[in-house]
């Protein structure tokens, strides 16, 4: 390839550098403001980019019971249960579809792929959930999104890559389907299971509209709804919501930023794992999907 020009390299570096700053600076400002002392915040008139007197008061205030603590537990629970159920259903269906020529293989595959093409619409979905008696029930946040057809297809593509001889020799030895799935197929597919599990987990953690639509009682709110109410809509949050026994409540902005940090941190924690695996998983999806 030709020698790249110095100007070209400089321009590219500038674009990438600015892009990274645009991502990092907001996080940094939010994090710093959440741990800054009230004096620093009032001196800066709001956001703080560096704190000399870090304090965890804001976190203590939101995590010592009250609406944020409860929402955190709700979100964690939905994410854990939802991801487990989604993975089981996805693996099972993908495995069933990884055997071309089996009974009803074609119709089930078509039926799965077809769901990518259309969306039933908000109103019919709401009525269905209501009809099934799931309104105000956590299951309404899980069952409608239990299965993502795209994930099924990606996982199936992975299962199809496994050499047939391996499965056939296991059949010869008298192993049943379930045994083959658990003992041979899954151990060979750890990467794709991890990546799809993480995708499901992120989706459950981030779900906002389904919670707004299907949950009526505020005490059932997950974190995203609390975030919307007290940070996006700026509804004042005080000791009534926090049931905190701190003498002086930290400044509103610290509390808001602490809620924001709490909802971002889990994503940051699992992000390296997604990074590690996704290229592989996505490539298969892109090639075969």
């Amino acid at each position: 390839m030709g020698e790249p020009s110095r100007l070209g390299i400089g321009a590219r570096g500038l674009v990438l550098g600015l892009g990274c700053l645009a991502v990092v600076v907001p996080f940094w400002a939010v994090l710093m403001t959440s741990i800054a002392s009230p004096e620093e915040i009032s001196r800066a008139g709001g956001f703080v980019l560096w704190t000399r007197e870090p304090t965890l008061d804001a976190y203590r205030a939101v995590l010592s019971g009250g609406i944020v603590t409860r929402a955190l537990m709700v979100s964690t629970g939905i994410t854990a249960v939802g991801t487990a159920l989604s993975l089981v259903a996805t693996i099972a269906l993908a495995y069933a579809l990884s055997r071309p020529g089996s009974l009803l293989h074609k119709p089930i595959l078509l039926m799965t792929v077809f769901t990518l093409l259309f969306n039933p619409g908000i109103i019919p979905m709401y009525l269905t959930v209501k009809q099934l008696g799931l309104l105000d029930n956590y299951l309404a946040l899980i069952l409608p999104v239990l299965l993502n057809a795209f994930n099924v297809i990606v996982m199936r593509a992975f299962f199809l890559e496994i050499p047939r001889e391996l499965l056939e020799s296991a059949f010869m030895d008298g192993a049943g389907e379930i045994r083959i799935l658990l003992r041979i197929v899954l151990p060979l597919s750890k990467a794709v299971v991890a990546v799809i599990g993480l995708f499901y987990a992120v989706a459950y953690w981030n779900a906002f509209f389904s919670a707004m639509l299907y949950l009526q009682s505020p005490e059932k709110w997950p974190l995203q709804l609390v975030l919307r109410t007290y940070v996006v809509n700026d509804t004042p949050i005080g000791s009534d919501q926090l049931s905190s026994n701190l003498e002086n409540l930290p400044p509103q902005i610290s509390v808001q930023m602490a809620i924001l940090v709490i909802s971002i941190v889990p994503i940051l924690l699992i992000y390296p794992f997604i990074q590690k695996h996704f290229a592989k998983g996505l490539m298969v999806g892109a090639v075969k999907g």
Partner: protein
Amino acid sequence: MHSLRNRWRRDRVLLLLALPGVTALLLFHYLPLGGNIIAFQDFQPFLGIWHSPYVGLDNFEPVLTGDPVFLNALVNTLIITLIQVVFVFPLPICLALILNATISERLKRLTQSILYMPHFLSWVIVVALFQQMFGNGGMLNGWLRSADLSTFHIVGVPELFKLMITSQVIWKDTGWSTIIFLAALSRVDPAQLEAAVVDGASALRRLWHVTLPSIRSVIVLLLILRLGDSLSVGFEQIILQQAQVGAGASEVLDTYVYNHGIVGGDWGTAAAVGLIKGIVGVALVLGANRAAHALGEQGVYTK
């Protein structure tokens, strides 16, 4: 018949494994499709789907007669789609080209890790971050105020709303969307590029005659998917910010359906608009795919 029985005996475990997933798809993808029948009913929640009276095409009146509230939602949707196809769609391609040309592998990976991150944040978080940075009481205005400079107002200004949501989309998804282009770029034949260098082609000519043509089918594929989605524009993103700017600037088809149906109780009209949106959406995907085939590209599915 014998063979069917044999196949049942051989495959029943597979069918059992498929059962939970198939049930979920039937219950939450196919069954709700039937719920669209209320687009033709004067739906009353207490009467339910079975007993609400049928009213023919009455619910489609706002669409057929061009009701201004509906037209506003339609026009907003199309404008946002147009803005995003023109300004948002090419960005990941440019960014992928820049990343692809970055020589240091470590630097490339670090930048990718940072730029992909926002994709995994929820819309609530993205909107909250934007407000905290650019809002009237946000960080930038705080600095301007403390420096005795005049502040600016972009959050909550109806005229700037479309610009606002477009920047949010760019911030959240440009990095992530490069993945598929980077994958395509990694398959560009180095021999062709070297041949072009030998022939004296400038960097720009190499880009135009070698690199871009070899990722064309991916670009076309993604453009098709985007056009097929023309009528859906950032529902969660918009509903979160609608209260600040009002419906005039921010109502799109999806929020129209939500606001009229779930909030307003005008179930029939909302379902009718949702139904039309769904049908046109499917038609758009199929149409765009046809167009791709006519241009000699592969498209989403093959003929």
